[in-house]
Structures are given as structure tokens and as C-alpha cells.
């Protein structure tokens, strides 16, 4: 009995190590460095039975599947081991370094935590949008052994040149080398070829296999993908790996003779990715860069032509430029055409006939410019200047096309006018025609002799002021004379006497005595008639005396006048001796003057 208890106790103790066995809860990741968009698996494994699994928060990762719980129980020699694991398939969203927080589980009433895992996320392919449903792996296909197959099947990225100029074309080939049979293939990731402008080279639908030896081994070789690349910027540009998944047929280790005889194969799923490739891109040299260089790299030739050199205004003119050669022909920018500024020009119609093959891109590009001269005249289309960089020589080359001389005749004026009035719609049309010519009032004069400012003009202009000045001076003088009364009077009297005695003076000079006295008498009577305002016929001694006496005339003067009149009367009939004719004349003159002065 005692022994039974002892055994029981021993057995109890024997169980103890099993129960006391260290329960471990660990976290592991399939990769610690992943690219964005790449999947990886994080698993939390527990070598024991646990419950209340508490997964961490995978904040920066997208959970593609999980938790996938698996439990396995092993019993070896009665020693039963239970292990369970919780797997998650994750995909990082953003680059950076992240830590996956510990997960916890309760085992035997104790809470166990895992160690945190650091995951470095690098740039990878873009995150696929949407929920990526992971197609369930075909369980019948075992994952291939990487070490075994890497020598048997691989993809190489090959470029024909490793160092190119910016814009220089290079051919990139992804080549598959294999020694094993491929059942099925699937492209997982096609490199983006960022930093390049690329042209696909069309490969035949049926993969062309050939045998090639590489590193001493013979492989079946096929080109999977061919591209012509044009580096867009200088520097080192990395070509991302190409990733493919193959299902391969590999020989399985035989288990029995029967299998050995027939050979057993198993299908293996194997992922292949090419090594990244770096292309060194050199910038185009600055030295000798022509002014009109727009980035053409390669080897080109240029031809320009026009369909006519003589046309009317508003007719269309076609200007064709043919650029042929090899290089980035599809990347050619606008040409440096020397069109006259006055031509209406439209964007060119571009026709490409480009051939992409293993030697690169070559072909022709035709620019068809439509030009419409709107005005008559002689115009020159300047020679086309086309500059390109020749990577073979490392120099720039400038080609000169032909220049053209275009004669534009006058177009239909009607269309001319409508064409332009359309541009000037905001100007109001006033009337339908110009006004008629001026038919009268020619007013022709010799051009050049402008009246205004000429000598004649100023002369005429000066007439007025000069005359005014003259008049002013004349008036002043007149005033001065008028102010001297005696002088004026005597002067006037002299004038009056001279007027009345003018005939007498004539007779005196002619020595005609009889007529002289008659004229003296007539002159005196005339004067008195005027002066005394008595009609000539009424004049006689009495009226004269009474009129003179009515005026302030001296008695002596009156007597003198009467004496003279008597003398003249007498001289008509008898010769006068006691006084000369001259004295009589002077006397008569004196009398008139005196009367003038007194009245």
C-alpha cells in the first residue's frame, strides 16, 4: 500500500515537469523589412493552451487576414504538447519604422505578453486599393525551396547601356533563365520605371525560347519584357525588380520503387524577383548647347518643304517638316520654325511612323503646319533650325532646313475686309460709304508757302497798328495846331483869301489889268457874300456896310474895303496910276485876312 502511494506521488511529481514546463508566448514576423504594399505575416505562437487572446492594434498595417488560429497537439510517449498560434497577414500602408505592440494571452490564469516587433517599412510598390482578397494558396503546391531553385530559375534585368545621357535611349530587357519546367506563370509586379519615358517593344505572343549558357550552365532563356527607356533626368535611376510567381514542376524525392520508376513530380510554387538595376544618367553637356535646343537626343535628319511659294492672301499654305532618325522622336517638342510673324499659323498636325525594336526607336515624324497669310507682301519663312544631341559623338548638331520665299498676292479685298471687320465688331459702322469729293472751293495754293508766319502775314498784321499810330500822331498834331488859335485863323484867312483871289492872281501874272480888277472885285464880293451870308445879287455898298457894322469890324477896315471896291470899280473905266496892281492885290488880300481875323 505504501509502495502504491509512493508510486503515485512519484508519478505526480513526474507530471509536474509537464505542468511546470515554461509556457512561452512569442511573436514573430516573416520579414522585419517590408516594402509598402507587400504582404507579410505576423504570428503569435504559444506552446501551450491559452485563452483570451488579445491581439495588438496594428495601427499602421492593413490586416489582410487573421487572426488565423491553429492549434496542434502532439503526444510523444505520453508527453502531450499543445501549441497554438495566431497568425495575421498584414500589409504596411506607409513607409517608416513601426512597432507591433505585444499581444497577450491568458494561460493558467496568468497573462502572458509577447515581445514587441519592430518592422521597417520601405518604399515598395503602390498600395493596391481596395480589399485585396488573397487567393488562397493551393495547398497541393508546396512552397519551393528558395536555396534549391534560385540557381535553376531567375530573372535578370539587362540594359544595353549602363551609362547614358539624359534623353538617350536604352533598351531594357527582363530575361528569364530557367532549367526547370514551368507549369504556370504569373507576373506579380511590373516595375514602374519611374524616371523614364518608356516605349514597350512588342514581343511575340508565344514566348520564344532559346538555349543560352550562363555561368557555365545551360539555361532555357526567354525575354519576358522589353522596353526602350528614355531617362528623364540625370542621376542614378533604379529600375525596380520584376516579380513573378511560377508554378514549377520539380522532381520529388521518391519514396518507393514504383515512384522512382515513373518519376514523381510535384508542383512547386516559387516566387522570383530580379535584382534591382541602377542606370547612370549623365546630364547633357552645357558646353555648345545651341539656343534652340529642345531636348532631341539621337541622330536625326530634317527636311522641310512647302506646297507652294506663290499664293493669294487668305489662302492656305502647307509647310511640312519631316524629321527622321533614331532617338526620342516621339518626345520632340515644337519646332523652331521661322514663320513670318504676320502669318496666321495653326498647331501642326503630327504624323508619326515610328518603329520600336531592339535597336531602339527610329522612324519619322512629320509636322504639317497650316499657314494662312492674311496680307499681301513678300515673306520669308526662315530656314528651320533643328538641334539635337548626338550621344555617339557627345556633341550637339544643328541642322538647317530650307528657307522659303513666299509671295503673297493681294487676296479678294471683300473677304479681306470682312475678315477684319469681324475683329473690330465693336466699331460702329457709321454709313455705307465715304462722303463724296469736294467739287467746289478748290482753294489751291502752292504747298509749302504757308501764309501764317510768313513775312507777308506779319506785314499785313502790322498794317492796323501802324495806321493807328499814324492816326494817333496825326490827331495829336491836329490838336496842337488847333490849340494855336491866331495862327490857325490867319492860316485859314490866308487860305480863304487865296481861294477867292486865285483868279485875280492869275490875271496879275498875265498882266491883264482890266480882267485883274474885275477878278479882284469879284473875289471880294464873293468873299463877302460867303462871309456875310448875303446873296451875291443883293450885295451893294449899303448892305455890306450895314452887315459889317453889325459885326465887330473896325471902321477903318470897312473904309479900306469900300475904297478898294471903289478902286476896282474905277479901274474898269479908267487906268489907275497912283497904285500898282500888285499893291491892290496885297491890299485886297490884307482886307480879307483882317476881316477873317476880326470875325
Amino acid at each position: 500500500m505504501k509502495a502504491r502511494y509512493l508510486i503515485f506521488i512519484v508519478l505526480l511529481f513526474a507530471i509536474r515537469p509537464v505542468l511546470a514546463q515554461d509556457v512561452k508566448f512569442t511573436a514573430s514576423a516573416s520579414k522585419t523589412t517590408v516594402g509598402t504594399g507587400e504582404q507579410f505575416e505576423v504570428s503569435f505562437s504559444l506552446n501551450g493552451n491559452g485563452g483570451q487572446f488579445d491581439p495588438p492594434d496594428f495601427g499602421n498595417f492593413q490586416i489582410l487576414s487573421g487572426p488565423n488560429m491553429s492549434t496542434s497537439m502532439e503526444s510523444i510517449n505520453g508527453n502531450t504538447t499543445v501549441s497554438s498560434s495566431y497568425g495575421f497577414i498584414l500589409m504596411p500602408i506607409k513607409e517608416g519604422e513601426y512597432t507591433i505592440a505585444p499581444a497577450s494571452v491568458v494561460v493558467n490564469g496568468r497573462r502572458l505578453s509577447t515581445n514587441p516587433i519592430k518592422i521597417k517599412v520601405v518604399k515598395g510598390r503602390p498600395v493596391p486599393q481596395g480589399n485585396q482578397a488573397q487567393s488562397g494558396p493551393d495547398n497541393s503546391i508546396a512552397e519551393g525551396n528558395t536555396a534549391d531553385l534560385s540557381k535553376s530559375i531567375f530573372i535578370k534585368a539587362i540594359t544595353d547601356k549602363n551609362s547614358v545621357y539624359q534623353g538617350q535611349q536604352l533598351v531594357l530587357t527582363f530575361r528569364l533563365y530557367t532549367k526547370v519546367d514551368i507549369e504556370q506563370s504569373q507576373v506579380d509586379n511590373v516595375p514602374d520605371l519611374n524616371g523614364f519615358w518608356n516605349e514597350d517593344i512588342k514581343l511575340p505572343q508565344q514566348t520564344q525560347w532559346r538555349v543560352e549558357s550562363y555561368k557555365g550552365a545551360r539555361y532555357n532563356v526567354a525575354d519576358i519584357k522589353k522596353n526602350i527607356l528614355f531617362p528623364e533626368h540625370a542621376g542614378n535611376i533604379t529600375i525596380d525588380p520584376m516579380k513573378m510567381t511560377f508554378i514549377l514542376r520539380v522532381q520529388a524525392p521518391s519514396r518507393d520503387v514504383f515512384d522512382q520508376f515513373f518519376g514523381t513530380y510535384k508542383e512547386v510554387k516559387y516566387k522570383v524577383s530580379s535584382t534591382p538595376l541602377v542606370v547612370h544618367v549623365r546630364p547633357l553637356p552645357d558646353a555648345g548647347k545651341p539656343a534652340g535646343f529642345t531636348g532631341a537626343v539621337g541622330n536625326f535628319s530634317v527636311q522641310s518643304s512647302v506646297d507652294k511659294t506663290e499664293l493669294k492672301a487668305n489662302e492656305a499654305l502647307n509647310y511640312k517638316v519631316k524629321v527622321s532618325g533614331s532617338g526620342n522622336i516621339k518626345l520632340l517638342k515644337t519646332l523652331n520654325t521661322g514663320f513670318p510673324a504676320d502669318f496666321e499659323k495653326y498647331d501642326p498636325k503630327i504624323t508619326d511612323s515610328v518603329d520600336e525594336n531592339e535597336n531602339g526607336v527610329s522612324g519619322t515624324r512629320i509636322y504639317n503646319y497650316l499657314l494662312i497669310p492674311r496680307h499681301q507682301g513678300d515673306f520669308d519663312i526662315g530656314p528651320l533650325k533643328f538641334s539635337y544631341f548626338n550621344p555617339a559623338t557627345g556633341r550637339y548638331t544643328t541642322l538647317n532646313g530650307k528657307g522659303f520665299h513666299i509671295k503673297v498676292a493681294k487676296g479678294l479685298s471683300e473677304s479681306n475686309v470682312t475678315a477684319f471687320s469681324a475683329d473690330k465688331r465693336d466699331v460702329k459702322m457709321l454709313e455705307k460709304d465715304i462722303r463724296y469729293i469736294k467739287t467746289s472751293d478748290a482753294g489751291l495754293s502752292k504747298a509749302g508757302d504757308q501764309f501764317f508766319g510768313s513775312f507777308g502775314y506779319y506785314l499785313i498784321l502790322l498794317i492796323g497798328p501802324v495806321v493807328c499810330y499814324g492816326a494817333y500822331a496825326y490827331r495829336n498834331r491836329l490838336r496842337k495846331y488847333n490849340s494855336d488859335v491866331v495862327m490857325v485863323k490867319s492860316k485859314r484867312a490866308g487860305k480863304v483869301a487865296a481861294k477867292h483871289l486865285a483868279n485875280a492872281q492869275k490875271q496879275l501874272l498875265a498882266n491883264n489889268t482890266k480882267a485883274f480888277y474885275e477878278d479882284i472885285s469879284k473875289g471880294l464880293y464873293g468873299y463877302l457874300s460867303d462871309k456875310l451870308n448875303i446873296q451875291y445879287a443883293h450885295l451893294d455898298r449899303e448892305t455890306i456896310v450895314s452887315a459889317l457894322q453889325a459885326r465887330p469890324v473896325g471902321q477903318l477896315l470897312t473904309q479900306q474895303l469900300l475904297d478898294t471896291l471903289d478902286l476896282c470899280e474905277m479901274a474898269r473905266y479908267a487906268p489907275v496910276t497912283h497904285i500898282s496892281e500888285k499893291e491892290v492885290f496885297e491890299k485886297a488880300k490884307g482886307i480879307i485876312n483882317d476881316i477873317e481875323n476880326e470875325i
Binding site: P340, A341, D342, R374, H375, Q376, G377, F379, S413, V417, F420, S421, D423, K424, V427, M429, L430, E431, I434, R435, Y436, I437, K438, T439, D441, A442, G443, L444, S445, K446, A447, G448, Q450, F451, F452, G453, G456, Y457, L459, I460, L461, I463, G464, P465, V466, V467, C468, G470, A471, Y472, A473, Y474, R475
Partner: protein, 257 residues
Amino acid sequence: MRFKRSLKILLLFGWFLLPLFCFGDSQAGERFLQANALYGKGQYSAAAKEYKKLMDDGYASAALYFNAGNASYKNGDIASAILYYEKARKLSPGDDDINFNLKYANLKTVDKVDAAPEFFLTRWWKGLILSLSLKTLSMLSIILVLAGSAALILYFFAEAVNIKKAAFYLAVALYICGLCAVFIAGSQSGYFADHRQAIVFTSTVNVKSGPAERASTLFVLHDGTKVDILDDNNGWVKIRLANGNEGWIQQPDIKEM
């Protein structure tokens, strides 16, 4: 006596001199009428030729330029038409017909140049000095000054105080008006002398940034556009458009007014 005689001489001088400026000789007048008749019959190019001949013989008048402009216009030579109209306008700035046809011909030019707006005082001043032709203004000034002189003489010799007073103020007013007319005429003459203008005659002209062929092209002008001439240099002319744009073109591309 002496003053009267000098006055007479001056008047006689004026009598003979004035008509010289007013009337051309009759032969040219006849040719002008003939050209008008050709125009009337619709033979515009022949009429234009006749007008041109008259101009080449040294004759000028607003009517001649206007008619020549009309004939050129009818021939489709807008640039010449504008040049003639502008010349006619210079001789007779206030003429409605000339201004109308000039405006109309300008509608047919290619370039539309919007004139920069002028300060209103400048506009008024220009309107004033360009309202009458130079000939009219100079005649007017002479007449006003002569009338003023007559009024002044009346003032000198008039006896009645009323007449004297009226004559004095009239004389002052007439003299001021006369001097104004002289001043305006002088301003107009100066305006045209300072404003050298030209018409583009080549159907398409590249206006360059400098007086050289290799200078870059600033803009393109077409025939009929009026430009102000600012400078001459070696066969190149610096021009300015009404909108203020400046550039250089070659002398043969334009015809100065």
C-alpha cells in the same frame, strides 16, 4: 497828307497781297475740276493720278487732299487714302467731311489701336486749336486786328463821347480777339510741327525693339496705321502708336504727313 498817302500805300499793298494767298491760278483749278469729273465718272485711278499730278506740281489744299483721299479709297489703297485725309485734316482741321471719311477709312485698316485717353483739358485745348484751319485763323487775325485798328482810329477822331467810348472798348475787344487768333494759329502751327506723324504703307511691318534688323520683333503693324514719329536713326524711325507702344521701323515702310 503824308499819313494819308502811306495809309493808301499800305491798303493797296494789302489789296494786292491778300488775293495772292486766297486764290490759286485758274489753270490748276481747271485741272482740279477735270480730275473731279473723272472721279464723278467713276474713273478713280485716273482721278487719283490727276490729283497726284497736281500735288507733284506743288499745289495743295484741303479739298485736293480730300478728293485724292477719296480716289485712293475707291481704288482700295487705304493707306494712301488715310495719308491724304490726314493731310487734308491738317489744312482744315474742323472739316466734317474730312473727319468722317478719315474715320471711315480707319475702319478698314487692319490694326485697331485704342488711343490712350487724354486729360480733358488737353482734349479741349486740342479741340480749340484744331477747330479752324490755319489759313482761316490767320485771315481772321488780320481782319480782327484791322477792325480793331479802325475802331481805334474812330476813337482817336470821334467827337461825341458816346462814340468815343464805344469805339475804345470795341477796339480793345477786337485787338484781344485778334491776338487770340494769332496765338491759336501759332499753337496749331506748332502742334503740327511738333507732331510728326506718318502712315504705315507696307502691308506688314515688323516693329523692332531697336534700330536694327536683328532686334527682336515687338509687334506687327499693317498698312494704314497712323504712327507718331519720335526719332530718326540711320534709316530707322522710332514710332509710337496711339496706345503708347513704341518701336522702330524702317523709313521706307512709312510715309510722313
